[in-house]
């Protein structure tokens, strides 16, 4: 059987005087119609490896050794001195091998109709009239499950949801029935339920076109359900490779075992940290949040009468799909987006609804740890300055206090002088937590605090949060779309749909005996290590 993609002994280095190997001695191959999962944590070189295959390496990196061939066509052979040119690569991209990127929000041009972007992708390799291309685009969009594609094709990306945009990206990728589809974290930015739909779509598309798939992800569960073979990467090397089922059932390498162990445990929290006798961290009473939308008369109701109580030392998880109102609820608690109706009580004392109207003392009772560790920290400030900021605002700064806060989250003086750009995602999140703790809040709003992190880092941060909760008696409002993460940390789970609470119960009960159909749907969509959800589908070899 001929390989669609064959990478041999690939070495990628940083350019410049002190060349550092980012990918070293990686060999991979993908056969026709096969699905290869490439798993690894950030910095493992998994994305670089496949980007290199399409000649899309970022500035500052270069191929320093090895051989890459797509469909038996040698693109690079460092020893033989073969280097494909830009023209050669362009002929190949989109036609023989196509890519689906991670972020469907930024991979479409916001100013052009989605249909015309798909049509452009069609016309790149197939000379045809604009009209014909547009018709083909509608056909493609319909084939990836976009309803009323003819009408929707004329609308621009902002009118499309994340899942629909990813469908459009897939439509572009399959425009020329490529032999090879490369999907780089295709569902990381999506909800679990949408993730399941997109992965189903990819499987269905492959069944129809017979293309091979390289699925790059950090999610072992996703790979377990969607790949035939698996390559585990770590520090720029492939540490283990083999049939997916075989590797997951009996991992041979330590790293693979560690990766699997770091998956969120399928068990609940055993020792609650709730402190009786202390005032509740949060009492939110019938919160309503409404947004005014320009051009529409009636305001949009994001949160529709939600009540919530979090005791000191308790973790309450609010789960739901994006747009269900969980973030708006958190913002209303913080006052960033004031509630239209309802009341907020923090640490036993009522506070005003708008942040601007709250006194500094009222504000410090509830603090937030943001989802995106990249936008949460001012890129110009050092770690020390970042953690010092809340103390400076309250004129309570001391060097020792900052050092203590950093110590509490497991960072030392060496980290204190660094800029956010010099930290890993997990370290950044630790800085965010230290900053939130600086003012000794009663309630910590955790807005998807680990969804941007690798699994092993996720586990560490969750452990840190658990320890801090026990030490300080903090109440956690844990916003998440990931039920797997929620299971191991939350005492209670609140499921939200369309601004309302549809189910609320202790964590164990939610997982053992979900009552609401939406809760069941959420639970079903979580990818699991123990096997393909939709049954192994052998793909036809064309």
């Amino acid at each position: 059987m001929s390989a669609v993609l064959r990478i041999e002994d690939l070495r990628i280095e940083t350019t410049g005087d002190a060349a550092r190997a980012l990918v070293d001695g990686v060999s991979l191959h993908v056969d026709r119609g096969e699905a290869l999962g490439v798993v690894g944590e950030s910095g493992s070189g998994k994305s670089l490896t496949v980007l290199a295959a399409l000649g899309l390496l970022p500035v500052g990196t270069r191929i320093a050794g090895g051989r890459i061939a797509i469909d038996e066509h040698v693109l690079v052979d460092v020893e033989a001195g073969v280097w494909a040119g830009e023209r050669e690569l362009r002929a190949l991209r989109g036609r023989t091998a196509a890519m689906v990127f991670q972020d469907p929000m930024s991979s479409l041009d916001p100013l052009r109709a989605v249909g015309s972007q798909v049509a452009a992708a069609v016309r790149v390799h197939a000379p045809m009239s604009r009209r014909a291309a547009r018709e083909r685009a509608v056909e493609l969009l319909t084939s990836v499950g976009v309803r009323d594609a003819a009408e929707r094709a004329g609308t621009r990306p902002h009118q499309w949801s994340g899942g629909m945009r990813q469908r459009a990206m897939i439509a572009m990728a399959i425009a020329h029935d490529p032999l090879l589809l490369i999907a780089d974290e295709p569902t990381t930015a999506l909800d679990v339920t949408v993730q399941a739909q997109v992965m189903d779509l990819l499987a269905e598309v492959r069944e129809r076109t017979g293309s091979a798939l390289v699925l790059i992800t950090h999610d072992l569960g996703l790979v377990a359900e969607n790949s035939d073979r698996l390559a585990v990467m770590h520090h720029g090397r492939v540490v283990e490779t083999g049939a997916t089922r075989a590797v997951l059932d009996a991992p041979a390498e330590d790293y693979t075992k560690r990766l699997m162990a770091a998956m969120p445990a399928e068990s609940e929290r055993t020792a609650p940290a709730v402190r009786a006798g202390e005032p509740d961290a949060l009492v939110a009473d019938r919160i309503v949040v409404e947004y005014r939308v320009p051009g529409r008369k009636a305001p949009v109701r994001a949160v529709d009468g939600v009540s919530l109580r979090i005791a000191a030392g308790e973790t309450v998880a609010v789960v739901g799909e994006s747009g269900c109102g969980k973030s708006s609820l958190a913002k209303a608690v913080l006052g960033v987006q004031p509630a239209t109706e309802g009341a907020v009580v923090l640490g036993g004392e009522p506070v005003r609804k708008e942040l601007a109207a709250r006194t500094a003392a009222e504000r410090e009772r509830a603090q937030i740890v943001f989802q995106d560790p990249y936008s949460a920290l001012d890129p110009r400030l050092t770690v020390h300055e970042l953690v010092a900021e809340p103390l400076r605002i309250r004129r309570a700064y001391s060097r020792a206090a900052v050092t203590k806060l950093l110590e509490d989250v497991g960072l030392d003086d060496g980290h204190a002088k660094r800029l956010p750009g010099q930290l890993s995602g997990g370290q950044r999140q630790r800085v965010g937590i230290a900053r939130a703790l600086a003012l000794r809040p009663k309630l910590l709003v955790l807005d998807e605090p680990v969804s941007a992190l690798d699994v092993s880092i996720q586990a560490q941060v969750l452990e840190l949060l658990d320890g801090l909760q026990r030490e300080h008696g903090l109440g956690y409002l844990f916003i998440s779309h990931d039920l797997g993460v929620v299971r191991s940390i939350a005492d209670r789970v609140v499921v939200m749909q369309q601004g309302r609470v549809v189910e609320e119960a202790p964590t164990a009960q939610i997982f053992r005996d979900p009552q609401h159909p939406f809760t069941r749907q959420l639970l079903d969509a979580v990818p699991r290590l123990d096997g393909p959800r939709r049954g192994s589908r052998p793909l036809p070899v064309s």
Partner: protein, 291 residues
């Protein structure tokens, strides 16, 4: 993914190698600055003193007047040096005024948004629609032309570019979590603006200012050429070229020499600012095949 790319591209410790364009630019602008700084220190520096017996001396003919003299026998080297100081000084002042006004307006519009932003957009469009040179001529018809007037008018009408860019940056910064965070900790708008917004915006202002220098030199010089701005006997590049063109047939150096100095300044500033912009921006993807 983006973050990962950045992480890969950022930490490579590169030795700073200036591009050829930057070297050329630095040499050109450096020559003008050197001229401006050193010549007034020479004992022979006298930009105003007339000597009709030594009028229209060609360059290199008399050691007392290395670049010759003009129609009134004034030392050309001294006059060019003073003119450089005058024009560059005015340019710098105008650029700073515009940068400050424009960035302030842009930051306020971008951060607060809403009606203020609509008002400021309107104001920008009105400002943009005004022909600055015509406006200045009209004002000078009423008031007396002077350097101060030129600085005032140009300094208050060339800020739209700064406002546009800084408004966009401020609007995107406003949505960043690190701007929200101090608010939840008891900080106020002033804190956020001074600690997070302004420090993250001024590099953008600097880039525009760098590219603006050449433009402003050209505009002020053309105004000087029309007799608006610095008044005689104080020289400027524009007025010197205007004076010199009357002798273009017999003594072309009178117009050429200030012209060359101006070319050096404008070209140098342009080359340097391009280098500066390129350094700050940097691309994400390489082009040109596998290698």
């Amino acid at each position: 993914m983006t973050a990962q790319l950045a992480a890969v591209a950022a930490p490579t410790p590169r030795r700073w190698r200036p591009r050829p364009g930057a070297v050329v630019g630095a040499v050109m602008l450096g020559a003008v600055l050197l001229l401006t700084a050193v010549v007034p220190l020479l004992p022979a520096f006298d930009p105003m003193g007339q000597d009709l017996r030594a009028a229209l001396l060609p360059p290199f003919a008399d050691p007392a007047h290395p670049l010759g003299t003009d129609a009134l026998g004034r030392d050309l080297l001294s006059r060019i040096a003073l003119a450089s100081a005058v024009t560059l000084g005015m340019t710098l002042l105008i650029v700073i005024m515009n940068a400050v006004i424009g960035s302030t307006i842009g930051i306020l519009a971008g951060y607060f948004g809403g009606r203020l932003e609509a008002l400021i957009t309107l104001l920008s469009n009105v400002t943009l629609a005004m022909p600055v040179v015509l406006l200045l001529i009209a004002i000078c018809a009423v008031l007396r032309p002077s350097a101060g007037l030129t600085i005032l008018v140009l300094g208050c009408t060339w800020w739209v570019g700064y406002a546009r860019v800084t408004r966009n940056v401020a609007a995107s910064l406003r949505r960043q979590d690190f701007v929200v965070s101090p608010l939840t900790q008891g900080g106020d708008t002033f804190w956020v603006l001074t600690r997070h917004i302004v420090p993250n915006i001024w590099p953008h202002t600097l880039i525009i200012a760098a590219t603006d220098i050449a433009t402003i030199v050209l505009i002020t010089s053309s105004l000087e050429y029309l007799g608006l701005g610095v008044q005689p006997p104080v020289p400027s590049w524009g007025s010197m070229i205007f004076d010199g063109q009357r002798h273009l047939g017999g003594d072309p150096w009178l117009a050429l020499l200030p012209g060359i100095v101006m070319l050096l300044a404008v070209g140098g500033a342009q080359f340097l600012s391009q280098q500066f912009t390129a350094e700050t921006r940097g691309g994400l993807l390489r082009k040109g095949g596998m290698r």
